[in-house]
């Protein structure tokens, strides 16, 4: 633990810390461009120069290890002069186009030039100009602005695990480029945040807003089950962009491209007024007429003729209200597993990512079953890669091979191999057994098969056998795909006593035994299978569900409501409304509340607060925001034979996996251009 003096303040830092970190610990601000705490040290911008006693010249504090007894000065005339010099050099070839630059107002170079720069330039010669580069449908470039900090190169190489960005030529001729190729990563948007200048900017956001006119709302992402912390920037009633928010336990400071760029889907294909199917055609009607018609239909039915299926984008409150409504109508036909996964709702530990995302870093052996985390949960995949890079994480995959950005042992594709691992006859079982903190990640793709319950039970047994479950460590993890799923399971949005599950509802609808079905944004089921049932669709987008619907009750998207989300770890998080739902659309829970009034069976809450109070009363851990309440280990799954069929991820198109994404033009472009590259089974396996 070296002790050093910074500007007269004595600080002690951890061994291996840099002088820059020591300066920060001592409260001295060090300007920097190339240094980033999550990336390797480059030391090439020279902005962090400080003076060290007994050193003949200023030192780059980011690259200098803190040593015992060092005496550092950060506020001497030498340091001031050094910073001015560095900035003067950086600005020689930097264009003065701040007024038309998207980074203007939130630019490191702009801010630091103001704070530390010289008053004027002495350079009168022509500036260099660099041709712009093509980096794909998401990243816009103005390469003349580049100051060669190489953060983007280090990010793609280290965090994203794709080596496509590089610096070619040298000296004054150095250029950052991908050689005309798109950045084939599902995390590529993060280079926009990392770029300290306006060289890499968001293509969809280009020239649409200035940072100071945006209203910033801190919220939670709903594109996958990670629950990435996001900031929604809106102007008026329009979402202009989405940025990550720091949360070390969840997404660190990264978000996936789907999370970042899906927002244009919020403006297209929206359901902004209620519709009723009249003579086979959907006709716009008033709320009163729509609710009255739905109520009349439901009143004529018996409880067991009604069913409800929850989609992937519903918040917990919405589903609580829907469950209450359907229960009130006398039905127990509820299911939130619209993909038919054999998730066992009876044991919470059986459907959580128990290790937690941050916990991955403690694992030393990992078995992935029937999942491609890279496209199912890019942020979790990045965490696995981070742990793998450290060097001691052994990874095995059972399922279809894919490029996951890290090397893994491809044990095999089919259920027979999985059975061998569970039996202990496969050598990877020994790897798990010998590991200190073994981890198993099972994707929902392994559970949607007919033998899903057997897979689940088998993995439960394996987790027990290899010592993955003990005090202080639970290595059993179910990787969900849907933001709504864990919350729905927590509140018991599953068949009640005598109720039908998804398959039962579909069979009932086809046979005419189920006469009315609520679809809470459920778009992924087989709409043909609903037969002649009266379909009531609540949701935000005109997708498969709305096309089939007999009554459409327009709801709010995730950016348009205060809502509770539970991520795959079981972490309860609060999202907030950034903009209002369009047109006549309303928050989903309020729709169910209004409908209950029309039915003459009003739900016992009139405000979100009352609803939440009821929700927390029923499920206490939902009140513990921002925490993961560990779940008790128990029995789940159903022992049985595992079929030898290939296990594969259910995600066919990462960029178009839900109704909002399917409405997004940006996501469509990504799907066309990048999908093959990020899902191709090449490279690092084996």
């Amino acid at each position: 633990m070296p002790k050093l003096t910074v500007d007269g303040v004595e600080v002690e830092v951890e061994a291996g810390a840099t002088v820059l970190q020591a300066c920060e610990a001592a409260g001295a601000e060090i300007p920097r461009f190339c240094y980033h705490e999550r990336l390797a040290i480059a030391g090439n911008c020279r902005m962090c120069l400080v003076e060290m006693e007994k050193a003949p010249k200023p030192i780059a504090s980011c690259a200098m290890p803190a040593g015992d007894g060092m005496v550092i000065h950060t506020n001497t005339p030498t340091v001031k002069k050094a910073r001015e010099g560095v900035l003067e050099f950086l600005l020689i070839n930097h264009p003065l186009d701040c007024p038309i630059c998207d980074q203007g107002g939130e630019c490191d170079l702009q801010d630091q030039a103001m704070a530390f720069g010289p008053l004027h330039s002495r350079y009168h010669e022509p500036k260099r100009a660099v041709p712009d580069k093509y980096m794909g449908p998401l990243i816009g470039t103005v390469m003349t602005r580049c100051i060669h900090c190489t953060r983007c190169i280090r990010f793609s190489e280290e965090i994203a695990g794709v080596s496509v960005i590089g610096a070619i030529n040298r000296g004054e001729h150095m250029e950052i480029t991908t050689l005309g190729q798109a950045i084939t990563s599902e995390l590529s948007g993060n280079v926009i945040d990392l770029c300290p200048v306006g060289a890499l900017t968001s293509k969809p956001y280009q020239f649409t807003a200035r940072p100071w006119e945006l209203r910033k709302t801190e919220s939670i992402d709903a594109m996958d089950a990670v629950g990435s912390n996001i900031r929604i920037d809106a102007r008026g009633n329009e979402v202009m962009r989405i940025l990550p928010r720091l949360n070390e336990d969840v997404n660190e400071e990264w978000i996936s491209d789907k999370t970042r760029f899906v927002y244009d889907g919020l403006k297209r294909q929206r359901l902004d007024r209620p519709y009723l199917r009249k003579d086979g055609k959907l006709t716009a009607v008033s709320w009163d007429e729509a609710l009255e018609a739905v109520a009349a239909k439901l009143k004529a039915l018996k409880g067991e003729e009604i069913a409800a299926i929850a989609g992937d984008l519903s918040a917990v409150e919405d589903l609580v209200a829907l469950k209450d409504l359907v229960t009130e109508l006398g039905s127990a036909n509820l299911d939130c597993r619209q993909d038919g996964a054999a998730i066992d709702p009876s044991c919470r530990a059986g459907y959580l990512f128990n290790t937690t995302i941050a916990g991955i870093e403690d694992a030393d052996a990992l078995l992935i079953v029937g999942s491609n985390p890279r496209i199912e949960a890019p942020i979790i995949n990045a965490r696995i890669r981070k742990t793998w890079l450290r060097g001691d994480l052994k990874i095995g995959l059972v399922g279809a091979a894919a490029d996951l950005t890290y090397a893994y042992d491809h044990l095999g594709e089919g259920g027979d191999v999985l059975q061998a691992v569970i039996d202990g006859s496969h050598e990877f079982a020994t790897v798990l057994k010998n590991a200190e903190n073994p981890m198993i990640i099972v994707g929902t793709g392994a559970l949607t098969r007919p033998d899903g319950a057997a897979v689940l039970a088998g993995l439960r047994k394996l987790a027990g056998d290899c010592g993955a479950v003990r005090d202080g460590w639970n290595g059993f993890n179910l990787l969900h795909l849907a933001a709504s799923r864990v919350g729905a399971l927590d509140i018991g949005f599953v068949p009640g006593e005598g109720g039908r599950d998804l398959a039962g509802i579909m069979a009932g609808a086809a046979a005419g035994e189920i006469k009315a079905v609520f679809l809470a944004g459920a778009d992924e089921i087989d709409m043909q299978g609903l037969g002649d049932a009266f379909v009531i669709y609540t949701g935000s987008h005109g997708d498969a569900g709305a096309h089939r619907a007999d009554a459409i009750l327009p709801g709010a998207a995730y950016t348009e409501k205060d809502a509770t989300w539970v991520n795959t770890e079981g972490r309860v998080q609060q999202g907030f409304r950034a903009v209002f739902p369009p047109g006549d659309a309303r928050e989903d829970w309020a729709i169910y509340r209004a409908l209950s009034g029309h039915l003459g069976k009003p739900l016992p809450y009139n405000s979100l607060e009352e609803l939440r109070a009821r929700m927390v009363e029923a499920v206490p851990h939902l009140g513990a925001t921002d925490t993961v309440t560990p779940a008790e280990w128990g029995d789940f799954g159903q022992a049985g034979a595992i079929d030898a069929a290939v296990l594969r991820t259910p995600v066919e198109d990462f960029y178009l996996s839900n109704a909002i994404a399917r409405a997004s033009a940006t996501m469509a472009r990504c799907s066309a251009e990048l999908l093959d590259a990020i899902t191709g089974a090449t490279g690092t396996d084996g």
Binding site: V164, G166, I168, N169
Partner: protein, 197 residues
Amino acid sequence: MSADKQESFSFSPENLEKAKAIIAKYPQGRQRSAVMPLLDLAQRQNGNWLSEAAMHYVAEMLDLPYIRVYEVASFYTMYNLKPVGKYHLQLCRTTPCWLRGAGDLRQVIKDKLGISHGETTEDGLFTMTEVECLGACCNAPMVQINDDYYEDLDADIMAGLLDKLASGEVPPAGSQKGRRGSEPFGERTTLLEKGDS
């Protein structure tokens, strides 16, 4: 620019052996370190330039992403990313050579071959590149032809050199005025024995 394209590249059997020997010099898992000697080997086999195909070949051989190889190849001036003539003239234009008449040499090349910096003669024999100091200042002016230094030049000698090269004869490298290394012309002038002067 069809001349800049090459369909495919692979090492000849003897170069493949050499490549394996080079790779074997580096510890297990550090084979990437062989990128520079392999690029050099490829360039020598490929008529003194590196095609995209050659760089891809080296990248594949070392399990490196192509961009990492291209970064290296574009950084160092000794890798030629475009085809060069049979004789690659690298004319030093840094101060000592320039003071000693590098400008005259450039003129001779321009007059005799009709090429300036970065150009190649139509017959594909000569390419001229102006370069910075090659470290032979004491025998300035000088020009590097392929791997060899030709020193103590002037316009006439340069013209003679070019004629010989054009006729297929490769003149001996080193000082063209007959001195050995950078020793003085004639008698020694320094480090004399006592009483010599």
